[in-house]
Amino acid sequence: MMNCKNAALFAIPLLVLLSPAIAKAQTDEDAITMAKKNLCIGATYMNSSWDHYWEGTFKRNNQNLGTVSTQQVMLMGTYGITKKLNIVVGAPYIWTHSTAGTLHGQHGIQDLSAWVKWEALQQKVGKGVVKVFLLGGGSIPLTNYIADYLPLSIGLQSKTASGRLLIDYQLGNFFATASGTYTGRSDITIDRNSYYTASLHLTNKVFMPDMASWNVRTGYRSKYLIVEGVFSDMITLGGFDIRKNDMPFPSNKMNSTMAGADFKYELKKPKGLSIVGGAMYTLSGRNIGQSTSWDLGVFYIIDFAHKNSQAKSK
């Protein structure tokens, strides 16, 4: 099992800011694992933009922002400790920009995220196969970027820790995957020492409510090609609404419902190389931008087990 199927792209809805980053990572929302001592590395480019957003439930545009766009280059790697236990690590560089108004865009390295993925169960059910995965993940900011500068900040500065249950069913080339995630978020420290949510806070610490999300993907999956439809829903378990004509804030109640499609194609030559891509659209939301995003990436598998055996045989 040499291929890098797990390079199929997955939207993590964890960091859908009012602006920018639908941080995307590999393989933490799919049902595919790397073989033992296989390393899959790659890079994706993502572009996301919106010109309408929700202030609470009020949908509007803003001629002092125009279109807000986020570009992201994410480097990531997946390593098979065993066939059933993988680790996934990634970090993005992000640029934000608005086409109107006077606010200065931001750019920089955002957060390091890592997942441990364990295939806990595999079971034949009728003619198909059900797999159950348990995932634990976390993220930490890699730089001291400004969080309190929405919608143009590149991230929220919160450390996160997530637990996910993922169930996959495959029948021939048809598959369906569903997952549910709970994400705990740490308080953040901002540059000012007071702020207003639904009341005044005289502190530079901000309580960040936890988040929950679920994700469904289904489609065609074979050795060389994956094509899938994706539906995801994210809610913030607390937080507050942006008031009319106010600025957004990191602890806003950011919710979203998104739909899209992804593909992954593995080339037969050169062996181990695959191309991934996809697009997502925000159907509805609260305190976030109605983003449309697309992405494209390249991945390559290095098989250390095979290399080692080759070296020994020489």
């Binding site: 200065h104 540059d191 007071s194």
Partner: protein, 521 residues
């Protein structure tokens, strides 16, 4: 299939502790305000002579009569004591929390309530469908746009009125306290506990209730949509005063009534201080443009889309507490460099270089002092700074009020003078002169020269440095950083900040002059 479901169940029981471990171990979840857990106010001096301090508007400390209280042996007072005992026998945790909250000081807590209202109401109205903007009106409460739009000049004036009224009300309160000399309930009856601390201040009329009455009454002028919430705060404070054993019901009733009467003086002044006309008229806005053009200057333009009318162009005509209108005119600095001059080009170029090369620490400074939309504004920020230092000074309530009144009268007059200068010169922002200057915070919707942050901060640092000389150097450094923050952000020329800083110091000097002659030093 049955086997499969059993395995799923087993898997779910596995994931629960995993999620708990991962989800919560890394997350620190405790955020509380700096002033959440203060000890009860314990004044170093009761300032028993404060009844003779110079009031601001009130002609005399006994302008408003307070009838003599009944003797502490009177059955009416015994009934007051029984009410306290009733509360103390069954204190709920909520009541204990209220006692702890209010015992830190009424002036502090009402100041924090004001800061909260300022942040709540500091939102520019959303545009109409035709691209015009609605103007908040006090005669149309509870309808969007909410009244007021608590922008910096409005906020500075609101703070000054509340603080000045609180000060006058406490001067009168202290006058009657020493006149009638009624002891606190816990001194009259030893079975009554002093849950908010003990002091030697006579309790009639209650200073806490005076503050509640005067502050609540001022809201009729300043935050009319908030009257119901404010009335609830008043009741919470008065109940806390009584339940803590600090004041009898009759102390509270007399205090609230006195506070409300004195607020009436300030409300009458506020209705006639020209603030109601500060929005101006479309004809007036247009004449600002033609006046600048007649002087061969590029006139200021709103950088918002749709273009928003200039913020309070006639605020410079508001009647100040420290400076009269002739002084406001005399305080105007000379003009900024002509908009067509090489000097202005150089200043614009400097603004561009600044935003292109901003460091993370400069961005921190920009954000720390930005105090823009949805915040308590720069005058509010300086109140929070003052509060943070005053809580360590063991002031009496009347000295607290006096010091905040000095600060906030300086801030209001700084707003008047600053807005006078801004609309006298009507000078464009750097981004108007060079649209490639992208700023690190929102560009305020009023002219550039001189910087409001520099004026507010210099005025505040000057009077606060007089009040707390050991902090004077630190305050001036903070004010300088606040002024610099506007240059780092790309929203001001450096000349805006140096000129504004100097005028702000002058206005702080007027506050010092008053401080030296009010009898409190």
């Amino acid at each position: 299939m049955q086997l499969f479901i059993t395995d799923i169940k087993r898997t779910i029981t596995l994931i629960a502790p995993l999620a708990a471990l991962l989800g919560l171990s890394a997350c620190n979840k405790s955020v509380s305000d700096r002033t959440a857990d203060l000890p009860p106010l314990a004044p170093a001096s009761e300032d028993l002579n404060a009844g003779s301090w110079k009031p601001i508007l009130m002609p005399r400390p006994d302008t408003f009569a307070v009838t003599a209280p009944v003797a502490t042996s009177n059955t009416l007072y015994i009934a007051d004591l029984n009410e306290i005992k009733g509360y103390q026998a069954h204190l709920t945790s909520d009541q204990q929390g209220q006692i702890a909250y209010w015992s830190a000081g009424g002036v502090l807590r009402w100041n924090e309530i004001m800061l909260g209202l300022m942040a709540k109401y500091n939102l520019p109205p959303y545009q109409n469908a035709d691209g015009s903007y609605p103007i908040p009106s006090s005669t149309n409460p509870f309808a969007y746009p909410y009244f007021p739009f608590a922008n910096p000049p409005y906020a500075a004036r609101a703070l000054a009125y509340v603080s000045a009224a609180q000060y006058d009300a406490l001067v009168a309160c202290w006058h009657y306290k020493t006149l009638y000399n009624r002891p606190a309930p816990y001194l009259v009856d030893s079975t009554i506990k002093a849950l908010a601390g003990k002091n030697n201040l006579p309790s009639y009329p209650s200073e806490g209730a005076v503050l509640a009455g005067v502050s609540a009454e001022m809201m009729k002028l300043l935050f009319p949509d908030e009257l119901a919430n404010i009335q609830q705060k008043l009741q919470e404070q008065e109940t806390a005063l009584i339940a803590s054993g600090a004041a009898a019901r009759s102390d509270v009733t007399a205090g609230e009534a006195l506070g409300r009467q004195i607020a009436g003086l300030f409300i009458a002044r506020g209705r006639a201080d020209n603030a109601g006309k500060a929005v101006g008229t479309p004809a007036g806005w247009a004449s600002l443009v033609t006046t600048a053009q007649s002087k061969n200057q590029v006139p200021w333009l709103s950088l918002e889309t749709p273009a928003r009318p200039p913020m309070l162009p006639l605020f410079g005509k508001v009647k100040g507490f420290l400076c009269d209108s002739a002084t406001i005119v005399a305080l105007r600095p000379g003009p900024p460099p002509s908009t067509g001059s090489d000097s202005m080009k150089a200043q614009t170029q400097a603004a561009y270089s600044m935003i292109k090369n901003a460091t993370r620490d400069q961005m921190r400074i920009v954000q720390f002092w930005a105090d823009g939309v949805g915040t308590y504004t720069p005058p509010g920020h300086w109140n929070a700074i003052a509060d943070g230092d005053f809580v360590n000074q063991n002031y009496s309530e009347v000295r607290w009020a006096r010091n905040l009144a000095l600060l906030n009268m300086a801030e209001m007059d700084a707003a008047i003078s600053c807005w006078d200068i801004k609309y006298y010169y009507f000078n464009p922002r750097p981004t108007q002169m060079d649209p490639t200057i992208k700023t690190l915070t929102g560009i305020p919707n009023f002219p550039s020269y001189v910087s409001g942050h520099s004026m507010f901060s210099a005025a505040a640092a000057t009077i606060l440095g007089h009040i707390l000389p050991s902090r004077a150097t630190a305050y001036m450094a903070m004010a300088q950083e606040a002024a610099n923050s506007r240059i780092y952000a790309g929203i001001h020329y450096s000349i805006d900040c140096t000129a504004g800083f100097s005028v702000g110091q002058n206005i702080g000097g007027y506050a010092i002059k008053r401080a030296q002659s009010d009898g409190a030093e």
